[in-house]
């Protein structure tokens, strides 16, 4: 679905800090939303989390940076980072070009998904939230 010109794909979960989560088997692929990448504009650097790192929900996973601004990426769920998107080192612009595709940031093996899923927004709720942000 779309909110103004921001894409909000169904089937993903979202946070109010504009991260998205895709459930893939037992794992969670994480990235930043179309709203986040458009607000940041040209992404020139992504600070990726280290593989193997254990994180707690809401902790900083890393950051996405434009020339002028730094945006923290907060872990939407707790767990262990099993993969980081190393393509972003040479091509940080993938975050702008494909925020929900090749611009993904990390894969987390969740430690408490069932409980923490309650904290995430579904596409419709995130879309509603975006509408309130844009007033």
């Amino acid at each position: 679905m779309k909110v103004n010109n921001y894409e909000v794909p169904e089937g993903l979960y979202y946070t109010k800090e504009h991260e998205w989560v895709k459930l893939e088997g037992g794992n969670c692929r994480v990235g930043v939303s179309d709203y986040a990448q458009k607000s940041l504009h040209e992404v020139v650097f992504v600070d990726l989390p280290k593989v193997g790192v254990k994180i707690v929900r809401s902790q900083s996973l890393g950051s996405v940076e434009s020339v002028k601004a730094v945006a923290d990426v907060f872990a939407p769920i707790s767990g262990e980072v099993t993969e980081a998107n190393v393509k972003l080192a040479d091509s940080p612009e993938l975050v702008n070009q494909q925020p929900y595709g090749d611009g993904w940031i990390a894969i987390i093996k969740p430690s408490n998904l069932k409980a923490e899923l309650k904290n995430l927004l579904d596409a419709k709720s995130y879309a509603d939230f975006l509408r309130t942000q844009m007033k």
Binding site: H41, E42, V44, F45, D47, E65, V67, K68, V70
Partner: protein, 375 residues
């Protein structure tokens, strides 16, 4: 209530607006990276009317400006400009600006946008014992910058004068597209280019300024001219090693510390700050401005610590991602004994200590970029 320049409508329609020094200005139109590339590879145009413009004229104008600034105004001929700083009694920098000699007893000074009021108050106070007139003309004269290796070619299309005859830091009163202007071969990007002052263009009736802007954009089409915002302006000046007032230079920093000694003419008899600067020159500035290039991926920003062997040497005062060199670059201050080019340091970026090296200015390869490029 934010102020607007003559070109506000254009910026609102085409750019991403932000607040800067009390003005609504475009941060970018297309994007900071493509705008930087446009300037380094061809030509870009910037609206810089948020900056101040003051005319200082009268019998004592030369003596007065020589008293309040550090550079030698008496050495300027009509049609010449120089970069200068205005210091307080401690030698601290009140502002940095260009001084243009318009006529035998008339100078155009261009304060930074954020220092418009401060500079005017200071100048008016110091002018009391001199026979000078200070006129604030920011609202009657617009100012654009046209920068890049093709800047002259673009302006040449709308001028009957041979612009190649204007030397670096030279100025000329010309008609551009039949509009009365003064152009100086100056800029804040390190590239060749001009700053264009359009006279008789009041804020309330900006049509002349708009006509000038549009004429330059039209004639720049074949050079793919891009309108450029404040984001690109800040990156380009940092790549060129130029200071940003408020970040790299402040009232707590002297021109010697900022490595701007070339604008301090101690041979001048008397000017505000001279005594303090003479002392500092003799002792040597304790901390100095250096360039910093990241050796690891990461973007240094203002306030980041600069470390050597776990000791904090100083702080970054300006930092960014440089699209021209494809790495993080910065300026900061370190003690003089650590300021040698090639020195390895670390910069603390968001909790991580990343390797960096001390460099000179500019950051780009001057054979490929900049007004002295050979390629």
């Amino acid at each position: 209530m934010l102020s607007r320049t003559h070109l506000y409508d254009f910026h609102a329609r085409n750019g991403h607006l932000i607040e800067f020094s009390g003005f609504e200005m475009p941060l970018w139109y297309q994007g900071i990276v493509p705008e930087c590339k446009a300037v380094r590879n061809s030509v870009g145009i910037f609206d810089t009317s948020h900056m101040g413009r003051a005319l200082i004229s009268g019998e004592d104008s030369t003596a007065f400006l020589n008293y309040v600034t550090t550079n030698d105004v008496a050495a300027l001929e009509v049609g010449r400009a120089h970069y200068s700083v205005m210091c307080n009694e401690k030698g601290g920098i009140i502002d940095d600006f260009i001084v243009n000699k318009q006529a035998e007893k008339e100078y155009l000074v261009v304060p930074n946008a954020g220092n418009r009021e401060k500079d005017l108050s200071w100048l008016k106070k110091e002018a009391e014992r001199f026979s000078v007139e200070i006129r604030h003309i920011s609202d009657e004269v617009s100012m654009f910058a046209v920068q890049g290796p093709n800047a002259q070619k673009v302006l040449q299309e709308i001028s009957d004068e041979d612009l190649s005859l204007i030397p670096r830091f030279g100025g000329r009163n010309v008609d551009l597209d039949d509009i009365k202007a003064t152009i100086t071969r100056t800029g804040y990007t390190g590239e060749d280019g001009f700053e264009v002052f359009t006279w008789d263009s009041p804020i309330e009736e900006p049509s002349k300024a708009v006509a000038m802007w549009n004429a330059i954009l039209d004639h720049g089409k074949s050079y793919n001219i891009q309108p450029c915002g404040l984001g690109a302006r800040d990156v380009l000046r940092l790549e060129a090693g130029m200071c940003l007032y408020g970040n790299d230079i402040t009232e707590s920093i002297t021109p010697f510390q900022a490595r701007l000694g070339f604008v301090v003419k101690l041979t001048k008899n008397e000017f505000i700050g001279r005594d303090a600067l003479v002392r500092e020159k003799a002792e040597g500035a304790k901390s100095v401005r250096v360039g910093l290039k990241m050796l690891e991926a990461g973007i240094p920003r203002a306030e980041c610590d600069i470390l050597k062997d776990s000791q904090v040497l100083g702080k970054v005062t300006s930092g960014t991602f440089s699209p021209t060199t494809n790495q993080g670059i910065a300026m900061g201050y370190v003690p003089r004994e650590y300021s040698k080019t090639g020195g390895e340091v670390e910069i603390t970026v968001r909790g991580k200590n990343l390797q960096a090296v001390i460099t000179g200015f500019p950051f780009y390869d001057t054979s490929k970029y900049g007004w002295q490029r050979t390629q």
